[in-house]
């Protein structure tokens, strides 16, 4: 039961990855690509969490936490770059 749900979830999140990659390649503008990257980060968290449940190993949580923080910081830095042309003022 749980295993079937996990396999379906893997499939759905992988499809989500493909859609994100498509948007990342297609653009058409820089904010679109940044949004695609941000969504990729969040989807990676989803994938890591599903994988953690699948393996029954709680250590994957640490990876999810790190990805969440790095993803947010990079998105903010990229947006700042678009807004101002530099990051550290």
């Amino acid at each position: 039961m749980l295993n079937t749900a996990l396999v379906i979830a893997f499939a759905l999140v992988s499809l989500a990855f493909l859609l994100n990659f498509w948007r990342l390649l297609k653009g058409p503008d820089a904010p679109d690509r940044i949004l695609a990257l941000d969504t990729l980060y969040v989807n990676t968290i989803a994938l890591v969490v599903i994988f953690g449940i699948h393996r029954g190993n709680a250590i994957y949580f640490e990876a999810a936490l790190l990805i969440a923080m790095m993803g947010f910081v990079s998105t903010v830095a990229l947006c700042k770059y678009l807004l101002r042309g530099d990051i550290i003022e």
């Binding site: 039961m1 749900a5 969504t39 969040v42 989807n43 968290i45 969490v49 953690g52 947010f72 700042k80």
Partner: protein
């Protein structure tokens, strides 16, 4: 019983994550695309994290709440990134299906 609850949470989470990305790929202008990942994906990953918390709490004979941290973190940061992206898009004057709002040429720095 718990298995059913976990499966429902995991499937809902994965489906919402997928729909968020579908919105990112499918909608027509940047400002509409902003909605999918901000809301659907965030709640989707939130569902998955709650499922993970329930799973490990039951398995390891002790409450495992640290998934709540990632959930909270995501719910706090998602609107901030969305706001910044929207502001950057307005700044670059990306075209929109809706009439554009008045431009604010000296961007202030909230949130």
């Amino acid at each position: 019983m718990i298995d059913i609850l976990l499966s429902v949470l995991i499937l809902t989470g994965a489906a919402l994550t997928f729909i968020g990305s579908l919105g990112l790929a499918r909608l027509r202008d940047f400002y509409s695309r902003l909605h999918g990942p901000t809301k659907a994906t965030t709640l989707g990953v939130g569902c998955l994290l709650i499922a993970s918390a329930v799973f490990f709490s039951l398995r390891d004979e002790g409450v495992s709440l640290h998934e709540v941290l990632v959930t909270l973190f995501l719910f706090i940061t998602a609107p901030v990134s969305a706001h910044l992206l929207g502001k950057a898009a307005l700044h670059l004057k990306l075209k929109s299906l809706a009439p554009m709002p008045a431009q604010d040429d000296a961007p202030s720095d909230p949130a």
